[in-house]
Amino acid sequence: MSRVTSPIILIPPKNPIVPSEITAESAYLNRRELMAGLMGSALMGSMTSAEAAPSQIVDENPSGPNWLKDKISSAKPAHPLTETLTPYKHVTQYNNFYEFGTAKTDPAQRAQTLKPDPWRVNISGAVDKPGNYFLDDLLKGIDLEERIYRLRCVEAWSMVIPWVGFSLSELLKKAQPNSAAKYVAFTTLLDKAQMPEQNSRLSTIHWPYQEGLRIDEAMHPLCILAVGLYGKVLPNQNGAPLRLVVPWKYGFKSIKSIVGITLQEKQPPTSWNQLAPQEYGFYANVNPQVDHPRWSQAKERRLPNSLLNPNIIATQMFNGYAEEVAGLYSNIDLKTHF
């Protein structure tokens, strides 16, 4: 490795300040970090140490290749959202990523075994330009942008997360889908060394994790592939280096650590649907009127909450993105196609 890294300049001066950095804790802390770096820690010492305790984000700098860090730091800022962002520590320490264990805290503790660099993604099926691409080649010519999205888990909790990514449609257009491309199938990495739970005989999921979208859903501009969050490289536990984010569907549709994208004529099998078809449909659109057989979906717990305030809010149709996406489903009954 011959790359020179400077420990002093923490943020390249040319990069714009991403809105998530001005809205929440993160931001304020990032800028303070920058100031401290410029002015010298001695001068800022009292200020930084006095507020050092809650500043999770300052200490966090997920590893990743420099080209990706540069690309993420020059991402186009998001449109501001009125809802409060979920703090970085919760976004990165409360995850469902069963390849690393079923407890919410498992992925943050155990995902270090994942090696997101170098990373290859195989694009295949009904496309004119199939191929096995390195991530940097895949992202060439694609500009990143920040998207602040609500994330609604099927377990009835939700967060608000500033992702950094790009519309999936941009990638698909590069691969040039042909007329047989009716669905897009996604596959997570299958590697028992990198993803220890894939060894477990006690897991109910058949690995690798698989997800899928109808082509029109996949081409919708709100549907993104994310490579970062909070202006930083995606941490392993959040699905590094490349994950899907479909904000109007339950979180389990947003498949992590993608290695395969296949365009096809048939509707692809999806992991949770295979496991419990009566509980998890192919569509999995956020819908407060269609309950999970074992619990209501009318409300959600916006995290973080506290002991005495579970912070329960009403769940919105299509997670609040109905205006943009309801048209995709005008022909189907959402009660049967849940």
Binding site: H90, Y94, Y98, T102, L202, W295, P304, N305, P310
Partner: protein
């Protein structure tokens, strides 16, 4: 026997050790370190510790009869009481922080979380065992005491059902605790241990 390992001192050590999971949870609560859903963390952790103490309590007799390990035998009651202590915390945290003390919605809760059904008789029976655990209650109950306390076997089965009912992405908890509890029950009917 070293002085610090006499029965009286063992009682102190086991008491403090048994209390540490609760203290640890209290500390994480105080320092805001229970994650974004502190109520859920509390309910799950206290539930797991209740089951751990149930396993320990049920292991005391087989340890004595089969492995001739009688060092914990005098402390069986304390282990059982800690099982009840964590089970009560588990229930209290559920009622206060998950149900939000909204007792009217309990019927709806039972349909949505049917695994709760198995846990209610388990906690009631555990409470009965806790109430009848002091020496004078033993004398008061006479012959019936033994029968009352045999309900721990039923409690174990109810707890296995409570856990197995929640299987979602992994059989791990259900299998580990199911295996432990069922084998501890099986050891009681196993012919080998009948020799006295």
């Amino acid at each position: 026997m070293p002085k610090l390992l006499t029965k009286e001192w063992r009682r102190v050590w086991i008491f403090l050790l048994s209390l540490t999971p609760g203290i640890w949870l209290g500390w994480r609560l105080y320092t805001d370190n229970l994650g974004p859903e502190p109520a859920k963390t509390l309910v799950i952790s206290t539930g797991i510790w209740a089951v751990n103490f149930l396993v320990l309590t049920l292991a005391v007799t087989p340890a004595k009869k089969i492995a001739h390990l009688s060092i914990v035998s005098p402390h069986r009651r304390m282990l059982g009481l800690f099982c009840w202590f964590y089970a009560s915390l588990h229930l209290a945290c559920y009622l206060l922080f998950i149900l939000g003390a909204d007792f009217q919605s309990i019927a709806q809760e039972l349909t949505q979380r049917p695994f709760i059904v198995a846990s209610i008789p388990a906690w009631l029976l555990l409470s009965l065992l806790a109430i009848t655990s002091p020496q004078y209650m033993l004398r008061l109950c006479g012959k019936r005491w033994k029968y009352i306390h045999r309900s721990i076997y039923l409690i174990a089965l109810l707890v296995v059902a409570h856990i197995a009912w929640q299987i979602r992405a992994s059989y791990q908890n259900a299998l580990v605790y199911g295996f432990l509890l069922i084998s501890l029950l099986a050891l009681r009917i196993w012919p080998l241990q009948i020799r006295k």
